[in-house]
Homo-oligomer: 484 residues x 4
C-alpha cells in the first residue's frame, strides 16, 4: 500500500479536471502541492505578486473553458488574491483558489499569517470551505469544481490548513470521486422557446445582442446560424466578442446604441442587463425582448422581459433554430440602414487613424496595432480610454481572441491574463494593450514573462494621467483642480 | 395622481404572486403592511410567536406550490423567525420573510430593536437584502420571488426600514415589474437522457427513488407513467410522499433498505444523497445510478453517479418517457420478492396495531388515526418516534397530503404548518400528529387555531420523555443516567 | 492514567467558572455533556423550547453576575436560541451557548441537522467558534469566558461537532487553563476624573443617570456615596434599577424627563445614549455631560460629551469620590422642586391605584402586586403597557430585584428569566408580570416550572390586544383598521 | 447659508483628527473628496496600486500615532486594498479606509464596479459601515475614529455610495461631532498591580519583554524607568523596537531565547503570546508571568498568566513604578551572564560583517547599511532573511525608527510605509531593506517616490530565490525539487 500526502491528493484531483499548470507565489504553507506538481507533471508558474496568480488562473479558465487554479500561501498570499477572485465573481468565470493556513491545532493561538480566509471570501465566491480531513481532500476538490463549473460559473476557494495538507494517509482509504458533476447542457422549455420563435417571426427590425455565455458554452456557430436564419444584425459584448467574424455581413458594432433603441424584437443571449446595457433601457420602451441566460436570476432583472428563457446558450439556440426551421425573412432595409451608419462612423474614424500628427493620435496607434493582429494573435485589453478605442479598431474574429476585465472594470488584469495565454497557447502571439495607469498596477510581472520565456508584447497608450477620470473632474470642478 | 406608501407597494407586489394571506405577529415597524392588506383584501393571520408565522409561511408555500409570506417586526420579530427560515432553507422551500427595521436615519444610534438582520440571515437564506428606497420596493419584491422560486428553491428575506416603508411616493413614478421570472421548466440534455434510458433498458432490478422535487414540479403523473413503463418499484421520501397512491402495485415502502441495496439500476429523482440515503451508500456498491436534480450541486455529491441529469423532475421525466417509448420490460420476479417482504413486515406490524394492551401501543394509536384519514384529510407529522410510526401506517395517497419538517428535523413545525393548511384548505380536515415533546415547542398556537376558527385535530403520542434521545443515552451511559 | 471525553472537559471547565446549572433541551448531539453534568454534580434544567434555555442562561448570568450556560443540540436547537442570544448581545449580558453539530467527517454531506452555526451567529455574538480538537476544549471554553466577561460583556457561542465531543482523550495530555482572564477593575485616567470633579463642583443642578453597569460591577454603594456627596438626584434605568433604595431622599423616577432637560451637569454612568435617552437629546442642549462607560465605543456616541471616562463603574466612582473628598454642596432648591413634581404625579396615579372600577384599572392591579413584593421577592417584567406601569409602581429596592428584557424589547423573556431566578434563589419568591401577548410567546414553560418545582407567580394584564401597537394603528389608520 | 457636499464633510471630519494627507489612487466614485482636499489643504498622495495606499495609511498611523486615511474607488479600488487592511488588523494599527460605491438607487442593478464591500471587510476590520445619508457623514467618520483609536486599535472601513457623497446639503443642518472619543489612558486595578510588584520584588532573574503597545502609548520613558528600577534586562519586539537605546546597559537582544527560558519573573508588556513567543512556551515552565495588555482578550491566552493586568502600557508602568518606589535590587550576576552571551554572539557575527568574500555575505551588507543609519534615518524592513539579519545589526535607538510588517508577515509593505514616512518626515532619510522577492511585490511604487520627490533608499538583498521557503523545501523534498 502507498502513502500519499494532501499535496498529492490536491494535484491528482485537479489534474483529473484537465489542469496542467498552476499559478502561484511561493509559500511555505502550500509547498506540498509544489512537490506533487513535480511528480504529476503539472507546471508551476510562479509570479511576483499573488494578484497576478489570481488573474492568470481566471485567464487560463477563459482561454481553456475549464477551471484554472491558483495556489497561494496563508494570510497575505490569500489577501493579495482578493481582487482577482472578485473580478472572476463579477465575470462569472470559473476559478479555484487554494489557500494555505496555519495548522488546525494552532487556530486561535496567533500563528504566523493565521487568518480565517473562508469568512471574508464567502461573499465574493460561489463557495468557500476549509478542509479539516486529509482523506476528504479529493471530495472537496470535486465539490469545488462542481460549484465553479455549474449553473452560473464563478470562483471557489478551498482553504487547507498545513496539518491537513502535510499529513500522509493510506491511498487505498481515500474516496476519490470521478463522476461528480452534471453533464451536457441545460435545455430550455420548448414551449417558451416556441413563444420566442413566434415573436421573432413577427419582427420587422429584429436584433441579436450576445455576450459571454455564447463563448463559455461554445455557441458561436449556433449564433451565426441564428442571425443568418432570422436575418438580424448581431452586436457582441464581453467574451461574446469574436463569436462572429467582423467581416460577416450581419456583424455590427458602431451602430449599437441606435439599433438597440429602434429594434422591435431583441434577442439577448447570455449577457446581463447591467450598466453596459443601461440597465435594460438601451432597448426602446416598445422593444419586445427575449432573454436567454443560464442564470435564472438574470431573467427580468431591471426590465420586464417578454420571453424569459433559462438555459445554456448553445442548447437554447439549437432548440430555437429548430423552431425557426424554414423561416426565411428579409430585413434588408433595416440592416442596410445600420450598415450606412457604421460606414459613416468608420469614415470619420479613419481620418484620425491615418493622421501623422504629433503627439500621435491614439487611433493612429490603434491602427498600427490592428495591423499586427492576425489570426495567430490574442489580445488583452487592460486600460481605459486606449482600450475603448482599440476595442473598436482591432480585428477580433474568433472566440477567445479578446480578453478584457469585464464588468468590474478591474485595471491591472493584463499581465495575469497574458501569462495565462502564453501558457495555454505557447505558439500564439500575445498583444497587451495598456494605459500608463494600468501598466503600473501589475507591471512588475514582466519579470515573470522573462523568467518563463513568454514573449508578450505590451503597447502603452500613455496620456500621463488617469484619462477617464480627469475628464469628469474637469467638468465638475474645473481644469486646475484635477487630481488624476 | 395618487400617493402610495411602502406598505401598499409591498402588498400589491406580493398579491401579484398569488399571495392572499400573510402570517405575522403584530409589530409597529411593519404596520403599514397591515393597512394595505385591508385595502387589498389580503388576509392577515396573526400568531402567538413569530416562529409559527415562519413555519406557516413555509407550510403555505408547500400547500400552494407558490411562495408564502411572513411579515415580522424588527429585532425579536425577525430573530424569533430564524428556525423557520433555516428549516425552509434546508428544505429548499420558497418563502419570503419581510422584516421591519428602525429608520435609516437612526442606524448606528441604538434605536429600539435596531439590528442589521440581513447580516446574520445571509447564511441561511438564498438572498437577503435591505431596501433603502420606497420606490424600489416592487423591484426588490420581484427579485425576492425570482430568487425564492428559481433553480433550487429557498427562503429569502427583505428588510424594510420604517422610513422606507412609511414614506409616501407618487404611484406613477414607481416602476412595477410584471414579467421578471423565468417561465416553464428546465429541460435536460437529451443526449444525457439517452444514456439514462440505455442503462434502464438494460436493468434487471430497476428501482425509482423519488423525493420532494416531484412534488414541487407536479411530476407525479409522469412518475407513475415511468414506473409503469419500466416496471420498477418506487420508493418515496420527503414531499415526494403521496406522489403514487399506496395501493398502486408498484408502490413500496417497507422493503426500502433491502431494495436499494439490491437494485442494479436506480433512478433517483429530486432527492439529495444525504443522511436519509446513508450519503449514497444505501444503494449497493454495484448499483448503477441515474440522478435527476434541479440543483446541479447535488449531482454526484457523496457518491459517484453514472448519469447526472440537471433539470426539472417533470421535464426530465417527460423526455425520459419519450426515450423509453415502446419499452416493455417485465421485472415480475424482482417486484414480487419485494412485495413478499413488505407483506411480512406488514403482518408483524398488524399484531401491534390490533393490540388492546394498556398502555396503548403506539401502533394501535396509529391504526386509529389511519381510519380517520380520508381523501379530504391532510396530515402534519411533527414528532419523533410517533411520527416515524405514523408515517408507516397512515394512508398518504395524493401529493401534498403529508407534511413533515424535512432534513433539518425541526420539531415544533406542526402548529405553523397546520394553520397554513387550514388557510389554504378551509374545507379539509387537518390532522397533526405530535409527540409530547414537540407539542410543547409551539403548542401555544392552539390559541391561533381558536381565534381563526381552524379546526385542527392534534393527536399526541405521549411517552413522557424525548424518546429518540433516551434510547441512545441508555445505550451509552446506562439507564439511570438518562436526561430526556 | 484516565480517559475523559469532550463532555467531561466541557463540564469541568464551566464548573471552574462557578456554573452549577445548565439550561438545555435534550438532544443527541450534546448528550455527553449531560452525562458529565451527572458526574460533576451540575444541575441540568431542561425546558420545552430552546429559546427559554437561552433566556434562562442570560437570567442566570444577571442574577449571579457570572456567565450562564445554555447547551443546545445541532440545527433547530441552536436556531431556536437565536432570540435569546441576540437579546443578550444587545443587553451586553455574558452568556455561553454551546451548540452541537454533526461530526467533522460528515461536513458538506447533508447530515441530519447539519449547519454551520458559527457563520450566522458571528454578527450577534462577541465571539463564536467551532472546536475541532477534543484536547483543546478547555482552552476554547476559557477563551469563551474571557470574551463573555471582559470589556463590554456579551454572549459567546461554541460549536462542538459530535466527534470532537464524544472522543476520549488522555486526561494528562490536556492543557487545562486556570488563570486566563483579567482580574480586578478597569480604572479611569485620574486626570480625566479630575476634570469631571471640577465640572461637578461647579454645578448648580447636578444629576446622576445610572444604568446596568452599576449593577454588573456591583457599584451601588459607591453610587449612593456619590449622590450623597454631591447632593444630586439619581435616576436609574435598565439593570441599574434597585441600585438605590426607593425611599432614599435622592431617589427620583417620575420627574426624569423634566430633570434631565434642566440639569446643568449630568453624570451618566454605564448606560448608553440610545433611544431610552432620546439619543442624548433627553439632556438639555446646555447640559454639561460626564459619561462613564466600560465600553469606549459608547463615549460620545450620538451627542458630544464634555468628559468621557472609560472604566468600570465601581472603579470610576471610587476615584471620583476620592477627588470630591470634602466637597459639601447644597442643592436643596433643585431637589425639592423635583420632589414636588414627583409627588404631584404620584397623587394623580393613586386615584387609579385605589379605584374599584370594573374592568379593573391596570394601576389598581399594579398596586395589588406592589403589596405582594417584599425584600424576598424578585420581579420579572415581561410585557408592554402593563410592565411600563408596574415599573412605576412596584417597589424595587435592591440590585438584582428587577429583570426586564432590555433595549431589544424582546417579549417572552419572562419564563426563561423566572426559571433562572428560581434556580439561583430557591428561597425567594418570583413574580412575573406579563401581558396577554407576551404570555403567549413562551407560556408553555409553565410545564418546566412544574417539573422543577419552581413556584413562579405570573400576573397577566390582559387587554386582549397588543396594546402598544394598537394605539399607533388607531392614530395612523383609524380605529376600525386595527390589526393587533 | 452654505451648501456642502459629502466630500467636504469627509475632509473636514478627518482634518479634525489631525489628518493632513490622504493616500489614494484616482477614481471617479470618490473624486468629491479630492476636491475638498484642495479646499482644506490636505495633501493627496496618489499611488500606482491601491495596496500601496493602504500600506501608506498604516505607515502614516504608525509614524504619527494618529489614524491614517486611504481613499479608494469602488470595486477593485477597495479589493486592491484588502491586504493592507488585513495587515493593519493583525497589527492592531488604526487606519481608516474610505471606499466609494455605486449610488444607492443602482444597488442590485449591476452598476459598474458595484459591490457590497462592507460584507467582506467586516471580518478583517474592527468596524465597517455604509453611509446612507449625506448629513450623517461626520457622525460616521467620528464613529470610525472612535473605533480605530479605542481599546485594541485597528482598521475601520467606511463605504460611501456616490449619491451620498456628491449630494449637497445645508451646512447648518449637519451635526458635526467634536467630543466623541475617550480621553486619557486606561488605568489598571491598583490591587492587581500590587500583586505584580510583590512578584517582582521577590525575583532573582527578572526580565521585561515589551512590544508594540509601549510605542503606541508612548511609554518608552516609563519602560526605561522600570528596567532601571528593577534592574532587569529588557527585550523588545515589533513596534517596541527602539523604545530603549541599544547602548543602554539593560538592553539585550541576542540572548533572548536563553533569557526568557531562565527568567524567574517575566513582565510582558503590550505584546501578544503568539508565535513570536512560541505561544507562551518561550518562557520557562516555572517562570512567573505578569502580562500587561490594553486588550483583555490577550490576557492568559495560550498560557496561564500569574498576574493579568488590563490597561494602557503607560498607565500601568506609571502605577507599577509607584508601587516599586524605593525598591533597589541588584541582579548583576543575571545581567552579566546575559551580556556575556550577547558578546559571544556578536563576536561570531562580526567575522561575517567584516568579510570581503564574494558574493558579498549578507551580514557584510548589513554592516554597510548600519553605518548609513543615523538618528535622522528611519528604517523600513520589508523582506525575509535579509531583514532578519538587518534587524540584528542595524541601530534602532528611538521609538518609531523601525518599521516592519508585523505578525501577518506581509511582504511588500515597504514602499507604502516608505512613502508614509517621507510624507510625515520630509527631512528624514528613509532606508528600505528589501529582498529580491519583496521588492517585486510593490516595487512599481518607485514611480510614486519620483512623482512626489521622496528620496527613499532601497537596498535589495538579492539571493535570487524565496530564501526562507527554499530552505524548508530542500529539507523536505531534496534540493532538486525546490520551487522558490
Amino acid at each position: 500500500m502507498a502513502l500519499v500526502d494532501g499535496g498529492d491528493l490536491v494535484v491528482r484531483a485537479i489534474k483529473q479536471e484537465g489542469v496542467d499548470a498552476i499559478f502561484t507565489l511561493c509559500g511555505g504553507h502550500v509547498q506540498a502541492i509544489y512537490d506533487a506538481c513535480l511528480d504529476e507533471n503539472v507546471r508551476v508558474i510562479d509570479v511576483r505578486h499573488e494578484q497576478a496568480a489570481g488573474h492568470a488562473a481566471e485567464g487560463w479558465s477563459r482561454a481553456t473553458r475549464r477551471c484554472g487554479v491558483a495556489v497561494v500561501t496563508a494570510g497575505p498570499g490569500v489577501t493579495d488574491c482578493v481582487t482577482a477572485i472578485a473580478n472572476a465573481y463579477q465575470n462569472r468565470s470559473p476559478m479555484l483558489v487554494i489557500g494555505g493556513r496555519s495548522p488546525i491545532n494552532r487556530f486561535e493561538m496567533g500563528a504566523l499569517q493565521e487568518m480565517d480566509h473562508v469568512e471574508f471570501l464567502r461573499p465574493i465566491t460561489k463557495w468557500a470551505r476549509c478542509v479539516y480531513d486529509t482523506k476528504r481532500i479529493p471530495e472537496y476538490i470535486a465539490a469545488a469544481f462542481r460549484h465553479a463549473l455549474s449553473g452560473r460559473y464563478g470562483p471557489v476557494f478551498l482553504e487547507i490548513p498545513s496539518d491537513t495538507l502535510f499529513t500522509k494517509v493510506e491511498e487505498a482509504e481515500v474516496y476519490f470521486p470521478q463522476r461528480y458533476r452534471p453533464e451536457g447542457h441545460v435545455y430550455p422549455d420548448p414551449n417558451v422557446v416556441k413563444e420566442a420563435a413566434r415573436l421573432i417571426a413577427g419582427a420587422e427590425r429584429p436584433l441579436v445582442m450576445a455576450g459571454s455565455q455564447v463563448y463559455w458554452r461554445e455557441a458561436h456557430e449556433e449564433l451565426r446560424d441564428l442571425i443568418e436564419r432570422i436575418h438580424a444584425p448581431v452586436y457582441l459584448n464581453a467574451m461574446g466578442r469574436g463569436s462572429i467574424h467582423q467581416e460577416h455581413p450581419l456583424f455590427f458594432s458602431r451602430s449599437r446604441r441606435n439599433a438597440l433603441g429602434k429594434a422591435d424584437v431583441a434577442v439577448i443571449i447570455g449577457t446581463p442587463m447591467d450598466f453596459r446595457l443601461a440597465y435594460g433601457k438601451r432597448f426602446g420602451p416598445e422593444t419586445k425582448t427575449i432573454q436567454v441566460d443560464i442564470d435564472p436570476m438574470e431573467l427580468g432583472r431591471n426590465r420586464d422581459i417578454d420571453v424569459r428563457i433559462e438555459g445554456s446558450a448553445k442548447a437554447v439556440l439549437r432548440v430555437l433554430l429548430g423552431e425557426l426551421e424554414g423561416y426565411k425573412p428579409d430585413h434588408q432595409e433595416w440592416t442596410a440602414g445600420l450598415r450606412d451608419e457604421e460606414n459613416k462612423i468608420k469614415a470619420q474614424r479613419e481620418e484620425f487613424m491615418n493622421s501623422d500628427a504629433v503627439p500621435i493620435h491614439p487611433l493612429r496607434l490603434c491602427k498600427e496595432m490592428a495591423e499586427f493582429v492576425d489570426e495567430n494573435t490574442v489580445v488583452v485589453g487592460d486600460g481605459g480610454d486606449i482600450v475603448n478605442l482599440a476595442a473598436q479598431v482591432l480585428p477580433v474574429n474568433y472566440p477567445g481572441q479578446w480578453y478584457d476585465p469585464g464588468p468590474m472594470g478591474t485595471l491591472g488584469v493584463g499581465t495575469g491574463f497574458s501569462m495565462a495565454l502564453s501558457t495555454v497557447y505557447p505558439k500564439k502571439r500575445v498583444l497587451m494593450v495598456n494605459g500608463d495607469g494600468t501598466f503600473g498596477l501589475n507591471g512588475f510581472e514582466f519579470d515573470t514573462f522573462v523568467r518563463f520565456d513568454m514573449p508578450v508584447v505590451s503597447v502603452v497608450g500613455n496620456d500621463r494621467q488617469w484619462g477617464q477620470i480627469s475628464v469628469g473632474q474637469k467638468l465638475m470642478y474645473g481644469k486646475e483642480r484635477v487630481i488624476a
